[in-house]
C-alpha cells in the first residue's frame, strides 16, 4: 500500500514583485499591482506531503512533530511575519514570486530532510498564495 500524509502550515509575509532585469515601466506591465513600490502581503498556506512505509507498531508514517520542527525552523522562522524582499537573502535579487518561494522552501526542507529518517520521502509541496493561486512541485516517486 502506498501511503502519503500531508500537513498544512500557515505564514504571513510581505513581498513586492520587481525584477532587476527590467525597467520600471516593464516591471509595472509585467507584475501589475504586485509591483506597487511599497509592497503588499499574503497569508500563505503551505502543504507538505510525505510518503513512506507505515510502521506496523506505531501506525505512523512519520512523526508529525518532527516535520513540524523542520518546517518551523526552515520555513516559518525564515518567512513568517517577514518582508521577503528585505529579509530573505535569496530575494535581494530574484523576485519573490510564489514560484520562486516554493522552490526555495523545497530546497530548505530537502537540505535537512535526512533528520526525518531515511524511509520518509518528500512527495510534494503546495503553496497557496491566495484562495485563487496555488503553486505545487511534485516529486518523482
Amino acid at each position: 500500500m502506498r501511503l502519503q500524509v500531508t500537513r498544512r502550515y500557515r505564514f504571513a509575509a510581505a513581498h513586492r514583485l520587481h525584477a532587476a532585469a527590467f525597467s520600471e515601466q516593464e516591471n509595472q506591465a509585467l507584475y501589475g499591482k504586485c509591483n506597487n513600490p511599497s509592497g503588499h502581503g499574503h497569508d500563505y498556506v503551505l502543504e507538505v506531503s510525505v510518503t513512506g512505509p507505515v510502521h506496523e507498531a506505531t501506525g505512523r508514517l512519520l512523526s508529525p512533530a518532527a516535520l513540524d520542527r523542520l518546517v518551523a525552523e526552515e520555513v516559518l522562522a525564515a518567512f513568517d511575519h517577514r518582508n521577503l524582499n528585505a529579509e530573505v537573502p535569496e530575494f535581494s535579487q530574484a523576485p519573490p514570486t510564489t514560484e520562486n518561494l516554493t522552490q526555495l522552501i523545497r530546497r530548505r526542507l530537502l537540505e535537512r530532510w535526512a533528520e526525518l529518517g531515511h524511509e520518509v520521502r518528500l512527495a510534494g509541496i503546495r503553496l497557496r498564495e491566495t484562495q485563487r493561486n496555488t503553486f505545487e512541485i511534485l516529486e518523482r516517486l
Partner: protein, 137 residues
C-alpha cells in the same frame, strides 16, 4: 477520469500502545495518547477512476458510491469510540494512516472492475490528512 465523494463521521480515538510507558506514548503520539480519548470530525474523500459510460455520461451512479460509503464508513464509524467499538482498532492504533488503510480495504472490493478505487483520503483535521493509494503507484 477521477471522481470523488466526501463523507464525514465524528468519532473518538486514542493513539497509544499498551506495551509502552506513559512517557513513551506521549513522546510518540503527543496529546493523542491521552488514554481517555478525544475526538475529531473526520472527513473522508474516496476517489474512483473510470471512464464515463457513453449512454449515461456517468462513470458510475454516484448513489451507489454513496450507499457503499454509508455502509462501510459512516454506519460503523460515526459517533463511536474507534478503539472500543470498531475492529480492527481494538488492536490496531487508529492513526489517520491506519484509518485510510482500513477504509481502503473496506471499499476496494466494491470497485474492482471497470471502475476502480484510486485513493482514500482521511482528514483528521483541516491541517493533517493521510492518503492511501493501494498497491499501485
Amino acid at each position: 477520469m477521477l471522481i470523488t465523494r466526501r463523507v464525514e463521521f465524528s468519532a473518538a480515538h486514542v493513539c497509544r500502545r499498551p506495551e509502552l510507558t506513559e512517557e513513551a506514548n506521549r513522546e510518540l503520539y503527543g496529546p493523542a495518547a491521552n488514554p481517555h480519548g478525544h475526538g475529531h470530525n473526520f472527513v473522508v474523500e474516496v476517489t474512483l477512476a473510470g471512464e464515463p459510460d457513453r449512454a449515461t455520461g456517468m462513470v458510475l451512479d454516484l448513489k451507489r458510491l454513496k450507499e457503499v460509503l454509508h455502509r462501510e464508513i459512516v454506519e460503523p464509524f460515526d459517533h463511536r469510540f474507534l478503539n472500543a467499538e470498531v475492529p480492527p482498532f481494538d488492536r490496531v492504533v487508529p492513526t489517520a494512516e491506519n484509518l485510510a488503510i482500513e477504509i481502503w480495504r473496506r471499499v476496494k472490493p466494491y470497485f474492482d472492475g471497470a471502475v476502480r478505487l484510486h485513493a482514500v483520503r482521511v482528514y483528521e483535521t483541516d491541517d493533517f490528512w493521510a492518503e492511501c493509494f493501494g498497491e499501485e503507484a
